[in-house]
């Protein structure tokens, strides 16, 4: 018998509502289609501040934080950037709550030399207001910008090479972190690929270190990103993190949240369409019509300006690996839904947000990341889609970019992808030169642009999915050019897409819908 969150449609089932960027589309799926729904939000902690204090005083694999402190020591606090969580969390963000307790403890122990760094790696610099949202007014006003700032992976004077792993991976990290007496990392773990050694060894590194694992060969060996034990990327990061931890005195604080992505008025988006009340069904219809008729900036505002009411489900502190075990377990508890058998055809909506477009537009390269990268990889065990199967996704694939945040993406998509889609070739022929483009690096350092290596990493991010998936068919694309550039086919409607998919599927194919967001991960068994 299947899990209650895996619903099989029959002829009387209501149409399903899927995200198509920042719009909603209603689709009819054939009887027999399996729909996988996200789990209900886990019950949040009743007293988060008490849980934080408890975690700091009862850490895993480490002495309590207070025992590590001595007056006059130099402490650096690393903080996860805006890519976590998605969408941003309603204030107070859990990082603000952790920082408040930690800073008080540091002050009580005579530790005044405290620097906080947003561990952006090669992501874009966060704006002052975005940092304020994460750390809160009091901390922001006291520390920003001199003692609270973004990591700069291209500030060569402030990057230190710690050594190489046995596999030759270069570990180069932010000098502040390396020269601190104690490095405290404050994480917010949204999905299982976050946190652990990734926090320090990726968050504080630069291109030299990233290219050790953010390359097509490594990415092809990730099955999946959401299962660190089966991800070559996570294994490489772990090796580098262990080397880093030999040199640094790291105290890790990880937090988990539930998947209450939508607040009350939009909560119905997470529900089985057959279970909607009359009022909820009307609200869904009204929202669908509204989104179809308002301009894009308004749609972006509806979804992105409203922070999510996530609840905190866990706070764990201590040694990196010991802490992360607990974090992973809580993450899986929230997201995993057991699914029996793989699908021949996997249907999913592509939402408006990814970790790389908070407060900006989901451009075509990021749509690719969502489809071949994140949505395909939302599994543990066997992939939800059979090898060579077809993904059907709903998205307009609009040829639009945020000109500031994604400046280097534009050239990547319009100049390089037309040359080749082959990740290996892109890696060999173009990456090194593009990644050292002085203008883009300057835009990363003093503007709010992603590093020029990032669009390559985004393409590689889809590599495991591309290697596995036979075809991708996009429903609702507003142009032919972008899907073709991505190597995808287009269909005008879901029935047309299903007909196309059946051409290469076995008779009576298994059709499965992943109903996201909120986040759901399939734990697939044969």
């Amino acid at each position: 018998m299947s899990h209650p969150l895996v619903v099989t449609l029959d002829r009387k089932s209501a149409p399903r509502t899927l995200f198509s960027g920042d719009r909603l589309v209603t689709v009819d799926l054939p009887a027999g289609t399996r729909c996988i729904y996200p789990r209900s939000p886990l019950e949040p902690l009743k007293d988060v501040d008490a849980a934080i204090r408890y975690a700091l005083n009862h850490p895993y694999g480490s002495e309590p934080l207070h025992a590590k402190l001595r007056p006059g020591m130099k402490v650096v606090i690393g903080i996860d950037d805006i890519s976590l969580p998605l969408p941003p969390m309603r204030r107070p963000d859990v990082r603000e709550r952790v920082l408040t307790v930690v800073l008080q403890m540091l002050s009580d122990h005579g530790v005044d030399d405290v620097t906080m760094i947003i561990a952006t790696s090669v992501h874009r610099r966060m704006t002052g207001e975005e940092i304020r949202h994460i750390v809160g007014d009091r901390i922001f006003n006291a520390y920003y910008p001199n003692r609270l700032f973004n990591h700069d992976a291209e500030d060569e004077a402030n990057m230190v090479e710690l050594g190489k792993t046995e596999f030759g991976e270069v570990v180069e990290l932010n000098r502040y972190a390396v020269e601190s007496d104690l490095l405290i990392y404050v994480n917010l773990n949204l999905v299982p690929m976050d946190g652990g050694h990734k926090s320090v060894s990726v968050g504080f590194c630069g291109y030299k270190s990233l290219r050790a694992h953010h390359n097509p060969s490594t990415m092809r060996k990730c099955h999946s990103y959401m299962d660190p034990s089966s991800s070559a990327l996570a294994t490489s990061v772990e090796r580098m993190g262990r080397l880093a931890n030999k040199h640094l005195n790291v105290f890790t604080i990880e937090t988990t949240i539930n998947n209450r992505m939508f607040d009350r008025p939009l909560e119905f988006l997470a529900k089985n369409e057959d279970d909607l009340s009359g009022l909820e069904a009307a609200a869904l219809k009204a929202l669908t019509v509204t989104l179809a008729n308002v301009p894009q900036p308004a749609r972006q505002a509806i979804f992105q300006r409203v922070p999510s009411p996530y609840g905190v489900t866990g706070v764990f502190a201590g040694a990196t690996e010991a802490v992360h075990e607990h974090t992973l377990s809580r993450c899986y508890e929230q997201y995993l839904v057991p699914v029996k058998g793989q699908a021949d055809i996997l249907v999913t909506g592509v939402p408006y947000i990814s970790p790389y477009n908070v407060n900006s537009f989901l451009n075509p390269l990021l749509v690719q990341v969502m489809v071949n990268g994140y949505l395909f990889n939302m599994y543990k065990g066997a992939p939800l889609l059979k090898k060579g199967g077809t993904m059907i996704v709903t998205h307009p694939c609009t040829d639009q970019f945020d000109k500031e945040h994604h400046a280097p993406y534009i050239e990547f998509v319009h100049n390089l992808l037309p040359e080749t889609r082959d990740a290996m070739e892109l890696h060999k022929r173009f990456e090194a030169k593009f990644a050292s483009n002085p203008a883009y690096i300057q835009a990363y350092r003093t503007g709010h642009a992603y590093h020029p290596a990032h669009p390559f990493f985004m393409w590689y991010w889809g590599e495991a999915g591309r290697q596995h998936t036979g075809r991708v068919i996009v429903v609702g694309a507003d142009n032919e050019y972008i899907p073709k550039l991505m190597g995808w086919e287009t269909a005008r409607s879901m029935p047309e897409a299903l007909e196309m998919a059946k051409d290469t599927a076995p008779p009576s194919p298994e059709i499965t819908l992943m109903h996201m967001p909120p986040i759901v991960m399939a734990e697939v068994t044969a």
Partner: protein
């Protein structure tokens, strides 16, 4: 125009060049980065060093006379700036008429230190260093005067200068500029010429400017970038997807 060949002709410029690049035969520049200067690398514009020279005449009375004349010329300068950058340059540099070449040169170090060096954007030098590390020729292309630009090139590690030159007769500036006048669309032609002479493919080259008047220069290279741009250039850059940069470290 002061390019590599002109450096060879002038011992002073040659000394500046020698400190900024390896001997030509050892150097294989893969591309060139062309930098406008005023407003792009430094906060100042052409007027600042001109006023500085006018204020540093051989006597206070002479300075006053020169400044008074410049003030009378101001409305024409404003109109010229609105009309054509080249006319503006020519009118502005008329202020140098009658100043001896010796004086221009003797005061050049002080003018550079007082005006340009102090006005450098904090990220100007790191950006130029990065271009050099990428193996680029770094070319300052500016409507400012050559003797100041060579000092700036020396300071920043730029390899070439394309700048305006005053006409000197009998040891004194006539107030006219030698041809070609470096401004507006002429910069684009000079860049094409420089790239051809040095074997660079324009598609591989970079150009940086703050001003809409430099769109021709930005348009001839494969990698244009708007730096601290005026609003018109910023709109254009966003439209075409050119990077928009700030070289000011105070950006948050």
């Amino acid at each position: 125009m002061i390019g590599a060949s002109s450096y060879d002709l002038l011992g002073f410029f040659e000394s500046a060049l020698d400190r900024t690049k390896a001997p030509r035969e050892e150097r294989v520049a893969v591309a060139a980065s062309y930098f406008d200067v005023d407003g792009t690398l430094v906060r100042t514009n052409l007027v600042h060093p001109t006023l500085w020279y006018l204020m540093h005449q051989r006597s206070p009375m002479r300075s006053l006379q020169k400044l008074a004349k410049a003030a009378l010329r101001a409305p024409r300068l404003v109109l010229a700036e609105m009309q054509d950058r080249r006319i503006f340059n020519e009118l502005l540099f008329e202020a140098y008429e009658g100043i001896s070449h010796d004086r221009l040169m003797i005061l050049a170090d002080d003018a550079f230190a007082d005006i340009l060096k102090k006005a450098l954007y904090p990220h100007a030098r790191p950006l130029i260093e990065r271009c050099r590390r990428e193996g680029h020729d770094v070319v300052l292309i500016s409507g400012a005067l050559d003797f100041l630009m060579t000092r700036l090139a020396d300071h920043l590690g730029a390899t070439h200068v394309i700048a305006n030159r005053l006409e000197i007769k009998d040891g004194f500036a006539t107030g006219r500029l030698l041809r070609p006048v470096v401004a507006g669309p002429e910069k684009a032609r000079l860049i094409r010429e420089h790239a051809r002479e040095h074997g660079h493919r324009l598609d591989d080259c970079f150009a940086y400017s703050d001003s809409y008047s430099d769109v021709p220069m930005l348009s001839v290279v494969g990698h244009p970038a708007a730096v601290n741009p005026d609003s018109k250039l910023e709109r254009l850059a966003r439209t075409y997807g050119w990077p928009v940069l700030s070289l000011d470290s105070t950006a948050t």
